[in-house]
Symmetry: C2
């Protein structure tokens, strides 16, 4: 059977980017998730409380692979709308939900696998999303930036078992922000308000996957907005592990780096 | 020799509280640190770049013990003003400063010890600062609050080796804030802005010492402002390890808890 991809669309630019690269894909939008449906692709509407119906629809389109793309906030499920399949899945998904968003996403991926779909990572579908190792755009990081990046990675590693953070800001050895549920942009907004007397250096944003995380779901991303938010927070640049972060809209990222003077370093 | 205490005053309410409890103490204020000098105590002005002079002054007052009280931001040192003692101490202190605020404070405490002073913890001088174990003020924490408090403690423990945080907010299993350099009130202000759809429960503030930290310096504190900031962030209450946090102005803390309906639990 020809492989055929379904893009399970969340918010943000990623679903559109994947759609542009695969005109044969099926584009799945979920009720309650605000996405723009691209022209030219088969569009399959779906609902979280009717996953059995979605599985049938995907099989009827000949879909063999799925990719989770973009951000999805935790859905409000309505048991009255459950289809038969969802009735059997709900207890598992509810139990996973109680353990956190990552556990829920892992369980959802497991369910799709059991239904016969290969769950692909976004960067497997579009390898250009990840920067090759040692890529640098913009100025050369200073020695302090390199040390700050290492401290940021150490903090992400220390927090790995707690499953809470994918981004940290360190400046002159001092930690100015640790991302939690509100996301990277909100954390950078907080960092921007740090009183001047507490800042010793411009600092760097370090963003990367939680060590050991499933790279098919909840992969950290940066885009042009991340660069501009980092610049507004007064930072010198951004560090990402090569192969660990999806860089969305690379041309616009490069433009934002050129305009703000920040560096982006993949290592 | 009679023990005699010197209060090395930083900002906040703690120096005044300790002064009120020991009328024989010497109250030391440092140039550039904005403190209110209490009536009735011997007042000894001092400067960070003339520590040798301070040691002589303290000895001449018969001081045998010192206590670091309140917050001090990193001083700007002027080598042109150094006294002879400070000339010999400066390289040590500068080296410690490069390793962070905690390292600097530990080195300063070591220097006072070498000069013959016993460095006391604030709660050794004023034992009422700490709540006895199992103290609870306000409503009984819910089961979710207890679980959230445990997760908060786990995060502080995970970060212990990184020396960055004394406070965390957890709500319904989700982490809403991790305190870094800006302090607890700023972190609570950030938590207060969390979008409603990301909040599953009111949540708790967990504040405690870094595991293994020197309890004579940089001991975490809460006061009435902490209670009000936690209330403004929509939290259900505050957890502190018994014996780990100084509770300043306990009467005002109790009044703020009564007015806001939050709990304070020491365990």
């Amino acid at each position: 059977m020809e492989p055929r991809l379904a893009i399970l669309a969340g918010t943000g630019a990623l679903p559109q980017i994947l759609a542009a690269g695969d005109p044969q894909a099926v584009f799945v939008s979920f009720a309650g998730v605000d996405v723009e449906v691209p022209d030219g692709l088969i569009h399959q509407p779906a609902a979280f409380d009717r996953l059995g119906t979605l599985f049938e629809d995907l099989h009827s389109h000949g879909v063999t692979e799925v990719v989770f793309a973009g951000a999805m906030s935790r859905p409000a499920l309505n048991p009255a709308s459950f289809d038969a399949k969802m009735m059997t899945l709900a207890p598992r998904l509810m139990a996973a939900m109680g353990q956190g968003d990552d556990a829920l996403l892992r369980e959802v991926a497991a369910v799709f696998t059991e239904e016969g779909f290969v769950v692909k990572a976004a960067h497997e579908v579009a390898p250009d999303l990840m920067l090759p190792a040692e890529t640098r755009i913009g100025p050369v990081p200073k020695k302090q930036d390199v040390a700050d990046a290492q401290k940021g990675l150490d903090i992400l590693t220390a927090l790995a078992s707690m499953d809470v953070s994918q981004a940290v800001v360190v400046a002159g050895g001092q930690v100015l922000g640790i991302e939690v549920i509100q996301g990277t942009d909100a954390m950078l907004g907080f960092v921007a308000q740090t009183p001047t007397h507490l800042r010793r250096a411009k600092g760097v944003l370090v963003k990367g996957p939680k060590p050991g995380q499933d790279m098919r779901i909840d992969v950290p991303t940066i885009g042009p907005d991340t660069v501009r938010a980092a610049a507004a927070a007064g930072l010198a640049g951004i560090y990402i592990p090569a192969g660990g972060v999806n860089v969305l809209q690379r041309d616009k990222v490069e433009q934002a780096l050129a305009e703000t003077g920040l560096f982006l370093q993949a290592r």
